[in-house]
């Protein structure tokens, strides 16, 4: 599963920075039946978090009604130079992480 994570590389101190995250995921609801007539097990991304300077600045809990390939957009206030990390996990136990340094100054 790939992801398109857009974190700006630089920002001025105090600037409000846009973070955009697009994740490739089937977001299988658990309510659908497969060709064999049996329920397809639920597999959705259930949580997404964003850490900035090791502190949680954004968190989302997801449910089966969320679309496949979900898109997130949120903001944070740039303070000092540091790492912005995006972490997400799905029902299949797959945990992924992408990070980038945000240079403030």
């Amino acid at each position: 599963m790939s992801a398109l994570v857009n974190i700006p590389e630089t920002a001025a101190p105090g600037e409000i920075v846009d973070i955009k995250v697009l994740l490739q995921h089937p977001m299988e609801t658990g309510f659908r039946t497969g060709p064999d007539g049996k329920l397809v097990p639920r597999n959705i991304i259930h949580s997404l978090r964003c850490l900035y300077l090791s502190e949680e600045v954004f968190a989302a809990e997801l449910f089966p009604a969320v679309t496949a390939n979900p898109f997130f957009a949120f903001t944070l206030v740039a303070e000092t130079t540091g790492e912005v990390e995006i972490l997400w996990a799905d029902d299949a136990g797959e945990e992924q992480r992408q990070s980038q340094t945000l240079t403030v100054g």
Partner: protein
């Protein structure tokens, strides 16, 4: 008298939309922005996968697509804009997905991809992406003309329990609504495209299936002579319109 003449003229004109409008132009600004945003368009995942497949070893000892064709941004620019195109060896026109599968069986000794598979959709989307911004230029091989005419016949033929033709909605009622959905003029400028309703990438054949199922008729097979004819007609009807890829539709 003059009024009667005007009325007669209006009745004599074919009831088709005079100005061509693509589905993109009819979408909300939000959806247009989603399509144009290079980090919000989910179709980009398929393009990225297609790029990987383009240079991937097919595992049969034969060259990858890139091994023969080189850089797709050079060799494939404008190619998708002219499909369906004539294939000498099989003596019929083939669509882009069909061409990819012919390449696999003829030159790579590989199994063709399933018609509805992420692999085929990804490669077709990647190739279509190489024609982004270019005008649709239908194949001018005269041997495709009878097929195009057959496509036009199919477009105008009433089918299914609802006894409707494509033309009745997409020519005469385009711009109106079917329930809450806007009826587009049916210009295939961005296939394969990401439909929010499907939550995935889908081919023009899938779109045909939807409509034909909707009028309660039996859909044709993807890549069949009927679908390729219909696509040939739609592409010449949309000639000159700009290829969008990856396209998003509601």
């Amino acid at each position: 008298m003059r009024l009667a003449a005007l009325l007669a003229l209006a009745l004599a004109l074919p009831a088709v939309a005079e100005e061509r409008v693509t589905g993109f132009e009819q979408m909300s600004e939000d959806l247009q922005a989603m399509q144009n945003d290079p980090v919000a368009n989910p179709g980009l995942f398929w393009i990225a996968d297609g790029e990987t497949l383009w240079s991937e070893d097919p595992g049969t000892g034969a060259d990858s697509c890139k091994g023969c064709h080189g850089d797709a941004s050079d060799s494939m620019a404008g190619v998708a804009a002219s499909y369906p195109a004539w294939d000498e060896e099989s003596g019929r026109p083939v669509d882009l997905a069909g061409r990819i599968n012919l390449c696999r069986t003829r030159h790579q000794d590989a199994e063709p991809f399933e018609r509805v598979s992420d692999e085929l959709l990804s490669l077709a989307a990647y190739l279509t992406h190489q024609s982004k911004g270019m005008p649709i230029t239908p194949d001018d091989d005269p041997r495709t003309d009878p097929w195009r005419e057959r496509g036009e016949d199919l477009f105008a033929r009433r089918i299914g329990q609802l006894n409707l033709s494509c033309a009745q909605c997409h020519d005469r009622l385009a711009g109106g609504h079917l329930g809450s959905a806007l009826i587009p003029q049916a210009h295939p400028t961005g296939y394969p495209q990401y439909r929010l309703e499907w939550e995935t990438m889908g081919s023009l054949a899938r779109r045909f299936d939807n409509c034909i199922f909707g009028v309660r008729a039996e859909p044709y097979e993807a890549g069949s002579e009927d679908y390729v004819s219909l696509e040939l007609y739609l592409k010449s009807r949309a000639a000159g319109l700009t290829i969008e890829s990856p396209a998003i539709r509601p």
